[in-house]
Subunit: 375 residues, 2 copies
């Protein structure tokens, strides 16, 4: 663990300092959620119904009879800007990794409800036709997209590649993925009905920052004398470390199904960091007794941005990319199944009866229900 | 029909003049299509399979057993820029119409394969949090989105509202919709297997430009002395006429199903205008004997951009927003069902054996297969 840069009296960076003002976005989100909920009745005309408990969860689920249908659209966010900077500095394209990140954003959310992802649609909106003239970059995006689909057992259905001069900035690309899957058999549905006291919390390792917290990470680079090429660990630059592709957790949730393990709940640790462990609305206490190793790039960000543990764990994944809440009897085998998928996992804690809160005992951290407002 | 502006010797506007260079985008599209096709085998691991004939069609279809699953993501394009200009000039938001346009882009494509749209996900990527601070505009977007979902019998599942400073331009928004539906019963699948000589071509009216051709329409405004407020017809400005929301054709395709009519094929007339009538790969001749009335705004664009009929009909919808290819015996009733949905339609022509081409007899127009390269 390296020391913070000496002589800096800079204030800690937070999200508002990084330019995102959720106070402006949230009223729209609330209005949109209300209007969206009002449309659920439309499904009755087709003989179907929504699964109401999926409103506010990471993917929307409807009951179409023989199985549930789950769908989602997710944006990459600003990680492509890091790839652009690193391409300028290193002369190679990083869009193969960026492709995986984009798919991971959608797939890792979709699987939290127990769905098997089946089809991905690509949304690649460029600032102008000339974005596509860089063949190496375009091919990296295509190749990375295909590989990520194959890693998850997904068919790449198609998509859109609009040139949006005047909307998307020149030289930039707005990347998103839409994913559709099914929950089959229906008993795989994971909306938390079975979540309760005694459940084990298994945390699965992340590869680094994944694709959340990038506004903060990009803001931080202004404070680093070495910029993007600052060393995070020997031979590993800050930019390259940030661009480690997001772990795809779909192979794990499918392997768990084959192993006969149905999680009681799952949370994709994205924005809001570990506060996402509080995602389910049930009034339960989540107690963490051991924490995973923190990836070098996240430790680096924490130190150089001057974030305390409460803010770091409440913002970044800090080494835990995905959380599985399983019956205590399934916990050890869940870790084994993850290992067989090449993923490090640990039985990090358990669920208790009590007021809704998250306690991270080894670090003395506490987050209550009011610190996560997603619905 | 007003005369072209006197004294203009300006060259005709085409798409390249309007800033879109498909020669740069197309190699990426081809590479992406190849890579996407290679992922189809992934579905076998789940016991499913793609419907290969849907590759290259407007929506991707997979066979999940009891029914087919169809999915798509579609971008609005640059129409929101017209809404922004008109908001500046008129002091009101046009985003209720823009919301409908965005949903129409996805839904009108999805239904061409015979699918009933069930769920829409919203993708609203703004240039910064401050986009959402204009409450009237944000509420118009929400209200229009909800109304369009309800008009189509769709549940609005959720979506993404990222603030993407540095990727999306400040003050702008990148809008897209992802839509999932099912083909149920499977006999509703409309990929053209039954398309053949003798089928009638029913053209359903558009409301105006819909959401294709906007780059051209925006470029044209530079030539208009009255700009966006130029009159297209008495009391109707060019800007307002462009912003007539895209017709939603899902109520029609659902009504046809209830009426016992299964189209042999369907085409959403978007980019490439009437060349889309040539969409299906079968070698067939499409002969049009009568053409629909041309909306005032499209006639206006044709005249002022100096487009001949061949280019106008090959670029814009020219009054035909959606094409249904039905058994000759179903043609008249298809028009009646459309009328019952409040949509004007006409039996415009028929399908013949012969070389693949489109002949628009009343206008002496001819398009051959080489003039539509979508696959």
């Amino acid at each position: 663990m390296s020391a913070p840069p000496s002589g800096t009296a800079a204030p800690a960076l937070d999200y508002r300092a990084a330019g995102i003002d959720y106070d402006l976005i949230d009223p729209l989100k609330v209005a949109a959620q209300r209007s969206a909920a009002a449309t659920a009745a439309q499904l009755h005309g087709h003989g179907f119904a929504e699964v109401a408990a999926s409103r506010g969860e990471s993917a929307y689920v409807i009951d179409v009879g023989p199985f549930y249908l789950a769908s989602i659209v997710e944006c990459l966010g600003s990680k492509a800007l890091v790839a652009d900077e690193m391409a300028r500095l290193t002369g190679r394209s990083w869009y193969d990794a960026i492709a995986q990140d984009t798919i991971a954003m959608a797939v890792n959310d979709l699987i939290t409800v127990g769905a098997t992802p089946l089809v991905v649609q690509a949304y690649w909106a460029a600032g102008g036709s000339e974005w596509f003239a860089d063949r190496e970059r375009a091919q990296a995006l295509v190749a990375g997209w295909q590989r990520a689909c194959e890693a998850c057992g997904i068919a790449w259905g198609g998509g859109e590649t609009p040139a949006l001069a005047g909307i998307v900035e020149a030289g930039r690309i707005d990347l998103a993925a839409a994913c559709t899957g099914i929950v089959n058999p229906k008993s795989r549905l994971t909306l938390g009905e079975r979540l309760g006291p005694g459940d084990a919390i298994v945390l699965v390792a992340s590869s680094g920052i994944h694709a959340n917290g990038l506004s903060l990470a990009r803001k931080l680079v202004e404070r680093l004398p070495g910029g993007w090429l600052s060393e995070v660990s020997p031979g590993l630059s800050y930019g390259a470390a940030l661009l480690a592709p997001t772990v795809l957790y779909a192979p794990l949730t499918e392997a768990l199904h084959r192993a006969g393990i149905t999680p009681h709940y799952a949370a994709n640790i994205t924005g809001h960091g570990w506060r996402k462990l509080l995602r389910h609305p049930k009034p339960l206490r989540y107690r963490i007794d051991c924490v995973p190793e923190v990836p070098a790039v996240l430790r680096f960000i924490q130190q150089h941005a001057g974030l305390g543990d409460h803010e770091a764990y409440g913002t970044l994944n800090m080494g835990a990319g995905f959380a599985l809440y399983v019956a205590a009897a399934d916990a050890a085998r869940t870790v084994e199944v993850a290992a067989a998928c090449g993923l490090q996992a640990l039985v990090a804690g358990h669920v208790e009866a009590g007021e809704k809160e998250l306690r991270v005992e080894p670090l003395g951290l506490h987050y209550d229900a009011g610190e996560l407002q997603l619905r």
